[in-house]
């Protein structure tokens, strides 16, 4: 029985006794792949967040969250490159990326380039702000990963998030370069959209990280 024979395994003499083929409900594989990646990341960040919550209030010494953070959403956090300011930049970048994808779907390459670059820029502002915050914490407050539990948890959680932002920015820059070199077209919108899913996830994680670190961690 070789593959040259018919591949319909119907086993019936006449075609009209055959049941109809059951629908497979196959899902689009790109979206499935990225969804599974996001699921993995949810469990990765979930573990770091669980550990962060577990260690709230357990420091034996050293700068405490109330020493180094302002109360959430207080005026100081809105100054340029402070945490609430940065958060706005990161979260709004999700809007720009949606607009970029819509433009790409229509083939409006100029518009795509504009919003795509805006996304990258806003993401970069967030990273810059994270760097400024870390500088302050290290140089002024004397908080590093080895200072106490708060330091270990903070730098690990915020650091991994920032790393994921950086990866997203690198990939988006790659797409930017490819577009400028003429390789990106309307028909690639589906693939570029998958990258936007990753970006939305990174933004979503920030909402959780912000809540845990700057709100719960502050009051805990």
């Amino acid at each position: 029985m070789s593959s040259l024979d018919t591949n319909t395994f119907d086993g019936a003499a006449s075609l009209d006794t055959l049941p109809p083929l059951a629908p497979t409900h196959n899902l689009p594989k790109g979206k499935m792949g990225v969804s599974m990646l996001i699921l993995t990341e949810i469990f990765f960040f979930g573990t770091l967040i669980a550990v962060y919550l577990f260690y709230i209030g357990k420091d034996l010494s050293g700068p405490y969250p109330t020493d180094v953070f302002a109360p959430p959403f207080a005026a100081e956090t809105w100054t340029p490159l402070s945490v609430s300011f940065n958060s706005v930049f990161l979260l709004t970048s999700s809007i720009w990326i949606v607009l970029a994808i819509k433009a790409l779907e229509r083939g409006a390459m100029g518009r795509f380039l504009f919003f795509w670059s805006l996304t990258i820029t806003f993401g970069a502002v967030f990273l810059l702000g994270t760097g400024v915050e870390w500088y302050g914490l290290i140089a002024q407050d004397g908080l590093w990963i080895d200072t106490n539990l708060f330091g270990s948890c903070y730098y690990t959680l915020v650091g991994f998030h920032a790393a994921h932002v950086a990866i997203g920015l690198s990939l988006m820059t790659l797409v930017l370069v490819l577009t400028l070199c003429g390789y990106n077209h309307k028909r690639h919108a589906g693939k570029v959209d998958l990258l936007s899913w990753y970006w939305h996830f990174v933004d979503g994680v920030w909402i959780f990280v912000f809540t845990v670190v700057y709100i719960i961690g502050y009051y805990g």
Binding site: P19, K58, N148, L149, T156
Partner: protein, 555 residues
């Protein structure tokens, strides 16, 4: 249209370097699957040799063959190797090879990601073993890791584990873990996105269903391990305090995080055993699997419940009675769907026409031994009993019964069953039967008495024991069993090498089986199927061979 394609041969008449190059750059799921499995088998031999040395040391009291640190490295490397570099690659490789064939498609969803996953796994394994050479580190201490395969903190902190040995444990597993996750994602996407026409989810072979659940478990259970290892790495290299008790960290936190990964991991390892026998037993009993929908439901239930039992590895840590009781309940609960699967397999045998070829012999070995291991698992779920035998040789006996007597036996069953498809040659039945009986005797002789030494008070991970404990006889039996196992594996290796050269030609369908892979050539062409299959039932080849009584009338 085109001329009939030549039946491809595994070892084509090409110069050696070009053949090697084909394998190194391949993204074909079949080649990658075989590379995964072959690497896993090589690590199996290495892990086995580590066990041989340990059993030599423990054959009698105060043997003095190994120094304590040498022994401690051996049990660490043995456990880590067997779980991460034998179990994982063989299961990922088998799924890689079989899933696209069974669902009637031409490759995995992401072939390049597939290759990436394989090479990461291999790199991780090499990194772990490089520790023997590179781990000397500070004060000349180090070498291979010696912290046990689950590496409890704070033993793994810099204070108590000098040098770099623990860092190699972390890095080897981090790297190979990413590979596993990549392949897990690939398997889920392939199964949910690429089934051939007519193959709805409830018409997939049970193998594919079980590997789907397995892949989802990999995707969700491995990241917590990665996160824990990253935290441990930060403790060791950056001075963080996650598991630094003096700095406010918690030793129990490591246990919780590790076992949150670790328990699903052992289900990740055993589900493929279930997948293998769910395909093999029906074919060798000439009967459809009994209760397919319940088997699917039981697998999904196992997947879910397995995420909620992890504290049963920590019953003696001193957690509250309420916590211990809750996890005892969930642990006992998971026995129910597992038991259901056993009943369904045995029900498949009833009324059948059992052919005792080697794959079926190994499958029966699995049924007998996994039953025993599963029952000792129920005993261990009983918290007061666990308080006596936790961390003793009783547990070592238990998990070897389920992972060796269970998983490894089914791996041999699967190899004997699918080797003809992958290579076009049959393995020798005679050599297979020798291997089976030797392995059966050796395995039971080694791991059966461990339950006794455990109940007589022998803890795990001791490099020696005193003469007055009463453990010598049982340890001697255990060590003698090793000889039979070594012989069995030697028979196996010889069988494989000999059959690759001059095994009987297999043809497309040597076992008269029913799933799609048997409808294509042995070995399959690179593209798997000349024409995309269309199926109307779970056993497309049964429908073809029995047009008067097709499955789709009954499903």
């Amino acid at each position: 249209m085109t001329a009939a394609p030549e039946t491809p041969r595994l070892l084509a008449n090409a110069p050696a370097l070009s053949k090697l190059h084909q394998w190194v750059v391949t993204v074909d799921h079949k080649k990658l699957g075989l590379m995964y499995i072959m690497s896993g088998l090589v690590f199996f031999i290495i892990g086995g040799l580590e066990a041989v040395m340990m059993r030599w040391q423990l054959a009698w009291s105060d043997m003095g063959v190994l120094m304590p640190d040498e022994f401690n490295r051996l049990f660490t490397m043995h456990g880590t190797t067997m779980v991460f570099f034998v179990g994982m690659p063989i299961l990922l490789g088998s799924a890689n090879y079989l899933v696209p064939l069974m669902i009637g498609t031409r490759d995995m969803a992401f072939p390049r990601l597939n290759a990436f996953g394989f090479w990461l796994f291999l790199l991780g394994g090499l990194l772990l073993y490089f520790s023997y050479f590179g781990g000397q580190g500070l004060y000349g201490m180090g070498s291979a890791p010696d912290v046990g395969w689950f590496a409890y903190a704070p033993l793994t902190e810099r204070t108590f584990s000098r040098g770099h040995s623990t860092d190699y444990w972390i890095l080897g597993l981090l790297v190979s873990g990413f590979g596993s996750i990549a392949t897990g994602i690939n398997l889920v996407a392939t199964t949910l996105c690429m089934r051939c026409k007519g193959m709805s989810l409830m018409k997939m072979p049970l193998f594919v269903w079980i590997m789907l659940i397995d892949a989802i478990l990999i995707v969700i259970a491995m990241p917590p391990l990665a996160a824990s290892q990253v935290m441990l790495l930060f403790d060791r290299s950056l001075g963080a305090h996650f598991f630094d008790v003096q700095g406010g960290g918690s030793a129990v936190l490591w246990q919780n995080l590790f076992w949150f990964f670790g328990h699903p991991e052992v289900y990740i390892l055993i589900l493929p055993a279930f997948a293998f026998v769910s395909e093999i037993i029906p074919v060798f009993c000439r009967k459809v699997i009994f209760g397919y929908p319940l088997m699917v439901a039981a697998t999904v239930a196992i997947g879910f419940i397995s995420m909620g039992v992890w504290v049963h590895h920590m019953f003696s840590v001193g957690l509250s009675p309420a916590v211990n009781t809750a996890f005892m309940a969930s642990t006992m609960l998971i026995a129910v769907p597992t038991g259901i699967k056993m009943f369904n397999w045995v029900a498949t045998m009833y009324g059948g026409r059992i052919r005792l070829h080697t794959p079926m012999l190994f499958s029966i070995g699995f049924l007998v031994q996994f039953l025993f291991g599963g029952l000792t698992g129920i005993m261990l779920a009983v918290v007061p009993f666990d308080w006596q035998v936790s961390d003793s040789y009783f547990v070592v006996g238990h998990f070897h019964y389920v992972l060796f007597g269970g998983l490894v036996f089914t791996i041999f069953a699967a190899i004997f069953y699918w080797f003809p498809k992958a290579s076009g040659k049959m393995l020798s039945e005679k050599l297979g039967k020798w291997q089976f009986w030797l392995l059966l005797i050796g395995f039971n002789l080694t791991f059966g008495p461990m339950h006794v030494s455990g109940m007589l008070g022998m803890p795990r991970r001791i490099y020696t024991y005193h003469a007055d404990r009463g453990w010598e006889f049982w340890n001697l039996l255990t060590s003698i069993g090793v000889i039979f196992q070594v012989l069995a594996v030697a028979f196996f290796a010889y069988n494989v090498i000999r059959s690759l050269r001059k095994g009987k030609p297999a043809g497309d369908d040597p076992w008269d089986a029913w799933t799609l892979e048997w409808s294509t050539t042995s070995p399959p062409p690179a593209w798997n199927y000349d024409v995309d299959p269309e199926v109307r039932s779970r056993r497309p080849l049964w429908d073809k061979k029995h047009p008067e009584d097709p499955d789709w009338k009954y499903e």
